[in-house]
């Protein structure tokens, strides 16, 4: 056990206890909450968010920021659908090309940040708008429908009673958890975020790590986009436009330090579930969307406030 005993254990896994606590509270006080159907639906909804957030997680971990994830989700969605519907491509080939496209922008984000020494905030703000422009030019702002019916299974199907997107989220979480804790490359993200120069002088390929973070972010956006597109069965240019706020909330709520170097894959996934439960509870209580935005804003401020102050204590 890591030094500090029970106290440290509780602090490390605060998010898990918070999640369980909230589940219990909602089950007791909101009658319609505790049905299997509702809970599975909540988890299905947040699984897309969780997957995209796990990509942003790597970028934040290295001390950078990726604003372009929403546009990348849109790009993957409308190009995948467009290639299949308009160009009659095989769905696998269409997926591969769409993936390549978002990865290209991930590499551009990474190269401009790492070699161009530009602030990632600016770089990704620019690519966010560029990608958005490309999406709208290609789709003319219209949803592209007509995807093969079987594709819908990815978004709405079940395996052994569990929604497919939830299974996707669990697989992504397990793979990334193993990657970040059990492989030298995965561990390097923490090292680079914690102290870039010391890591470089210890032989870590900091440039590769920096670019990889943006590429991972792009890949996760793609996977999330696949699920979302399969659910709505159409390619939509602005599919991810409102995601950035929730993604940032989830990454920080999951215990990731905004200054980089500290965070947990499982924490981010749990945070997505937590946010999903909160949103669902608000919907069931009849709180409208605009109030939900305000509540979520307060949550984000509170979490960052706690994060900044615990960091002060640590140093």
């Amino acid at each position: 056990m890591i030094g500090g005993g029970l106290n440290a254990f509780i602090r490390e896994w605060m998010i898990l206890f918070l999640f369980i606590f909230l589940l219990v509270i909602c089950s007791i006080f909101i009658p319609s909450f505790a049905s299997t159907n509702n809970i599975l639906n909540v988890f299905r909804q947040v699984s897309f968010l969780a997957i995209v957030a796990l990509g942003e997680f790597f970028v934040i971990l290295t001390g950078q920021m990726d604003m372009s994830i929403g546009s990348m989700v849109g790009m993957a969605s409308c190009f995948l659908a467009g290639f299949v519907v308009n160009s009659g491509m095989n769905i696998w080939l269409a997926g591969a090309i769409a993936l390549l496209m978002v990865i290209t922008f991930g590499v551009i984000n990474g190269v401009l940040t790492v070699y161009g020494k530009m602030p990632s905030f600016i770089v990704t703000l620019v690519t966010m708008n560029v990608i958005k422009g490309i999406n709208y030019i290609y789709s003319r702002g219209l949803p592209i429908s007509g995807l093969p019916r079987g594709f819908n299974e990815l978004g709405m199907g079940h395996v052994l009673g569990i929604p497919v997107p939830v299974i996707m989220m669990l697989i992504v979480t397990v793979v990334l958890r193993v990657y970040t804790t059990q492989t030298p490359m995965g561990r390097s993200f923490f090292a680079v975020g914690g102290n870039h120069e010391a890591s470089r002088l210890s032989g870590i390929n900091t440039n590769l790590v920096g670019i990889s973070a943006f590429v991972l972010s792009a890949i996760m956006s793609f996977i999330g986009a696949i699920g979302l597109t399969a659910r709505t069965m159409s390619g939509v240019a602005n599919l991810g436009d409102n995601m950035l706020f929730d993604v940032m909330t989830v990454v920080v709520l999951g215990g990731t330090a905004l200054s980089g170097g500290r965070g947990k894959v499982v924490g981010v996934m749990l945070a997505a579930m937590l946010l999903g439960v909160i949103t669902n509870a608000m919907v069931l209580l009849g709180i409208n969307t605009y109030w939900q935005w305000i509540v979520k804003g307060i949550i984000l401020v509170a979490v960052v406030l706690i994060d900044s102050n615990t960091q002060k204590e640590n140093s």
Binding site: R187, E197, G203
Partner: protein, 503 residues
């Protein structure tokens, strides 16, 4: 006037400071007379900084009392701003200046001279000029601080501290980052302040300075008050003995008498635009080579260039006779070179990480199972083995390096390169900000390395250290190697002459 009849500017009685689980100070008492420079000495972690913080009000002492000019200070409401009003100021080792503001602005920040609603720049300028004249310094106060030299920044910090008519000034490791020539200047200023009747508390690791500038001393060891007295009544070996709490075995530097093998590293005509040119040097197995030079001579840049972390425009590096391309630290580590950098906290360690991950960082790829996964168990075992070998004082491998003392942090950096199987060790100011006891252990470790057939290059601003450790010393002056001394020519005198470009 006899000394006893003067009222001390500051008096501390039985100061005890407890933190949860730790007693940082217990029963410390001393007094500071007007015009006196009082040295506060002890190893890292002995409680010097804590004591200084108790005096400035940053910490509130748990027990004890504080008297300012004979009057007892109410400790229950004591704070940093109260201590400033009482005329107590501190000058920190680290720069606490706003780099983009001018010195003038920096000096007056927080207590501007005003004319109605506005800042009275003219009055500020006059007051600052007056102060500079008093300190007999000429610094351009109207350019941003970032353009000043390190030594000038220190003086601006000092000016900022005393502009409020401070009577008690604490100098916390002021000279740690300065060169000899600049230290002379600081001493001159200290003497001016002393003459004015200001009392100074001088925190330093450099014991020679204590004997040069201080009148009285207080030794702390593990938070306990060992002794206070007059500097004139004590000598250096006795002081060291008190500081480390035991008798120092005859010599600080171990005898380097092991066999010297074949040349491992040879550098030919190494040039980097503007910083150094045509550098030739070599180092053999079991040999310690020193590099001496003033600030700006290019020493740090040179060792970084060998390590691949500073750009090289020309020249060759040979390792065991084979020409080797070193483009980045990854290449260097592959060729078994390790760098112990000068800025331990910024470059040597990841302060947020624990001991184990800092020790194993360059070697992560070596410990693998099933070809792709990290072998955590093997890593932990090796990290334990090497840190034990270096006699690291730590609670656990999972302790953050942030909580280790400077000397122990440096040991982690050395352990890191031993674990990475380095054969060539580059030390850039390995004992900067480290106390005598830890220095001794690092010297011993360097000897162990040479016994094991490793090649060592050391850069240090302390000539005594280089003379004590190195078989040969290269002397750099303005980016070029001017001289190489060994044997009988390895003396302070010869080196200083070369350093300054004489002959």
């Amino acid at each position: 006037m006899s000394e006893t009849s003067r009222t001390p500017l500051l008096e501390i009685k039985d100061c005890t400071m407890k933190f949860p689980g730790v007693i940082a100070l217990s029963g410390v008492s001393f007094s500071l007379l007007p015009g006196e420079c009082h040295a506060l000495v002890g190893e890292n972690g002995a409680g010097k900084s804590t004591l200084a913080k108790c005096i400035t009000g940053e910490y509130r002492m748990t027990e004890g009392s504080l008297f300012r000019a004979g009057e007892e200070v109410d400790l229950s409401s004591y704070s940093v701003s109260k201590s400033q009003h009482q005329g107590i100021a501190i000058v920190h080792q680290e720069f606490q200046l706003m780099e983009d503001l001018t010195s003038l602005e920096n000096i007056f920040i927080g207590h501007y001279e005003r004319k109605g609603l506005f800042i009275d720049w003219k009055a500020q300028k006059e007051k600052a000029d007056e102060l500079m004249e008093f300190l007999q310094c000429s610094i351009n106060l109207t350019i941003p601080v970032k353009y000043l030299r390190t030594a000038e920044k220190q003086i601006v910090q000092l000016a900022k501290a005393i502009i409020l008519d401070a009577e008690v000034v604490i100098l916390d490791e002021l000279t740690a980052v300065l060169q000899e020539k600049d230290i002379e200047n600081i001493f001159r200023i200290i003497n001016i302040l002393k003459k004015k009747g200001i009392g100074l508390i001088y925190v330093s690791h450099r014991l020679d300075e204590v004997f040069e500038i201080c009148d009285s001393y207080t030794v702390l060891c593990d938070g306990k008050h060992i002794k206070s007295g007059r500097v004139s009544e004590i000598d250096k070996p006795k002081l060291i003995e008190m500081i480390i709490g035991r008798e120092l075995s005859s010599d600080l530097y171990p005898a380097f008498d092991g066999p010297i093998g074949d040349t491992i590293l040879e550098v030919k005509n190494l040039t980097s635009k503007d910083t150094f040119k045509n550098v030739n040097l070599k180092v053999a197995a079991g040999e310690v080579v020193g590099i001496a030079g003033l600030v700006g001579a290019g020493k740090t840049e040179l060792v970084n260039a060998i390590f691949g972390s500073y750009p090289v425009t020309n020249g060759e590096i040979y390792i065991k006779g084979k020409k080797t391309e070193i483009r980045n630290p990854m290449d260097a580590i592959r060729h078994k070179i390790g760098l112990v950098p000068d800025e331990r906290k910024l470059l040597g360690l990841n302060m947020m990480y624990d001991v184990r991950n800092n020790t194993t960082l360059p070697s992560w790829k070596k410990f693998k199972k099933y070809r792709i996964f990290s072998d955590h168990k093997a890593e932990i075992e090796k990290a334990f083995e090497y840190n034990e070998k270096l006699k690291l004082k730590y609670r656990s491998l999972y302790q953050k390096v942030l909580n280790l003392s400077g000397g122990n942090q440096q040991k982690v950096v050395i352990a890191k390169w031993m674990l990475a199987d380095s054969e060539i060790f580059l030390f850039d100011e390995p004992t900067r900000g480290i106390d005598v006891g830890a220095k001794f252990e690092i010297y011993k470790q360097i000897k162990e390395l040479t016994n094991a057939g490793k090649a060592v290059i050391i850069v240090s601003p302390e000539l005594e250290e280089l003379i004590g450790l190195a078989h040969r010393i290269y002397i750099m002056f303005e980016g070029e190697i001017k001289d190489e001394v060994s044997g009988e020519r390895k003396t302070q005198e010869v080196i200083i002459n070369s350093l300054l470009g004489v002959n």
